[in-house]
């Protein structure tokens, strides 16, 4: 039985948000996407602790609080630290990758050039997490 996921997307690029939404709908998935434009907005949302997401898809290169800073803050929070966070980025900088894994991430996915490839990757990620057991809120 596939779980319907609450997905928090932290992404400042409008078209990237559109890509994810279009992917969900084109794959006919029921997952709920919560959109935030940057880390600050995401934190505000999370700190309300009302409707916590099952997983977070996090872009690294963002203005104000960047992905890694956001991740560090998240991991210090007693409750929020258990939310699996998957990095979704165009940067294959080894330094960033190592730093992310060090702080604690649930995956590191590179955005491919082609949209078709993007759809395939997102499908797999969501599929994977929807069969995982997650911490009950």
């Amino acid at each position: 039985m596939m779980r319907v996921l609450n997905v928090l997307l932290i992404e400042d690029d409008m078209i990237e948000v559109m890509k994810l939404n279009r992917t969900i709908s084109s794959l006919d998935l029921k997952h709920k996407i919560i959109e935030t434009n940057n880390g600050e907005e995401a934190l505000q949302f999370l700190q309300k602790k009302e409707e916590l997401p099952d997983i977070i898809l996090l872009d690294l290169n963002m203005p104000r609080i960047n992905g890694i800073e956001f991740l560090s803050i998240l991991k210090k929070d007693e409750v929020l630290r258990y939310i699996p966070t998957v990095i979704l980025t165009t940067s294959n900088n080894q330094k960033d990758l190592l730093e992310c894994y060090k702080i604690g991430i649930a995956g590191y996915v590179l955005k491919p050039l082609k949209y078709e490839d993007y759809v395939l990757k997102i499908e797999k990620v969501l599929e994977y997490w929807s069969i995982n057991e997650l911490k009950l809120v």
Partner: protein, 658 residues
Amino acid sequence: MSQNQLELLQRSLKREKAARKAAEKILENKSAELYEANRKLEKSHTELEALLGKTDSQLQGVFENIVDAYVIMDLSGYILKMNDAAISLLGFIDSKEDYNLIEMVALNEKYRVADSFKELLKTGAITDFQVNIITKKNEEKLVHINASIIYDQGIPVAAQGIVRDITEAKKAEDLLIESENRLSTLIMNLESGILLVDENRKIVLSNNKFCEIFKINEAPNKIIGKGCTTVIDNNKNLFVNQEGFISRIDEINKYKKDIIGEELLMVDGKIIERDYIPVFEKDNYKGHLWTYKDVTLKRKYEKSIEAQRQKYRNIIANMHLGLVEVDSKGVILMVNQSFLEISGYLEEELVGKKSGELFPVKEGVEIFEKESNRCLNGESSSYEVKVKNKVGEIRYWLISGGPNYNLNGEIIGSIGVHWDITDIKNLELQKEKLLIQLGKSNDELEEYAHVVSHDLKSPLRSINALVTWLKEDNKGKLDRTSIQNIEHIENTLEKMDQLISDVLTYSSIGNESGEKTSVDLEDVITGLVQIMYKPEHIKIEINNKLPVVVGYKTKLQQLFQNLISNAIKFIDKDNGIVKVDVLEQSDYYKFSIKDNGIGIEPKHHNKIFKVFHALNKRKDSTGIGLSIVKKIVDLHGGEIWLESEVNVGTIFFFTIKK
């Protein structure tokens, strides 16, 4: 018995009686003669004894009172009489010995003694006879004998002698002779010329060196007894100042005072040092001793030492290094001009002060003390120290210090050579700062490259998504040309994306964060070949087992990947072959990757390793691939070059240091 027989016997008897009577008569006469003789002998014996007794008593006093040993013996050598001194000298217990003196003579002396005995008997006396004897107590002794014969009425009857023990005297004499010999040999061969002159200025003693200096063609003993004035006068022309030479001698002779170390110049350039020592015996002038020393060589050495000293003094004074000599307590003894310039002090402000207290700033004191102690333990060392000069500027000095020894090899302090390296030090510090800055800006640059590549790639992804959606949303509505143009957009995006990736890769080579490790190329390349895209008609061969090298694994992998995929890309033959090979050299490996592709024209050989220099406009060529290859080879201390023939193929060679 017949009558005849009887008569015969009677006649014979008669003859016999007559004969006996005659014999008895003779015997009687002889007996009377004998008696007479005996009486006479007895008388003379008594007389002799009386005489002897008289002489005896006369001699007794002398005999007992003489200190020397006195012995009377008969003519065969048997002792008749001796005094106490003789008893002790000859090793007897008392005078009652019945002993022949000949037995005492040492075996090898027997003939000489026999001869002297004959002499004694013949002439009646011997004097100064020396002989080795072995006494009754078995002691070897050398004795001196004066002896004479005792006569009785012209007939020799005994011998008397006075014996002296001269063993010790002889030994002492021998020693004296020996030491005299030694002394004279010594004097003869002295390195100084010796002339001993008596009070009349006659030569008593001279030696070889004297004759040599004064060019006297005679043996030293041949001039003994000659007047020294003549000898010296004859040779005065050997000296530069002839008259002065003579007048000075006269002057010296007049005053008779010790003169030491007067210098004389000889015509042949020799320098002679002269001493004069008068000899007095109980205040009476008995002569004098001249000593002449050839000091030419010594003076020459002294001069050359002086010249050398001057030379080094000049070097020390003029060198640009500061020189400081300190004693074992660190007190400054000497500084040179350069040190004054370096330190800013005046000489009088430094000499006598402790060097350690003058200059060091806090962190320098410890180094200063440690290194000074090392010098005093006989070690040399070089060290850098931060100091303050007189005006309080911080300066950096490189000091090379070493122990200073006296003539006995004892450490009496140290000598330090100081070099003001402040300028160099500042450059060094500046360099360090720059290096840190460079590292930082390199890091920043790489960061920047990543950010830029991210920022450039993101829009490409967006454009790709949008174009894809255009296609999807307008399916069946677009004409062929539009669909083709959309494809062109997609290809351009791909090339753009590859370009950005390559630029990023290229710019990050040489900025490795990790260390080089051992890389097994056999493993890496076989793995690489398996996962690489290979068209059906192309075969990749690895001819030799690839070595293990020290380097960056991912970079090496990329190097091979770029070259092999390049080779594959440009093969136009039906059966393509890519050959990977390696040749081991003394200090590097030479790799080669050979293809049978289109080849490269010679005019391009130098350009192809430059960035953005793609020879062929292809959708999958960015012009960076070979630049990356070159950079990776550089990174591993190697070289890269190629051999190629158009339409036949290309071989890329590169080396990697072992």
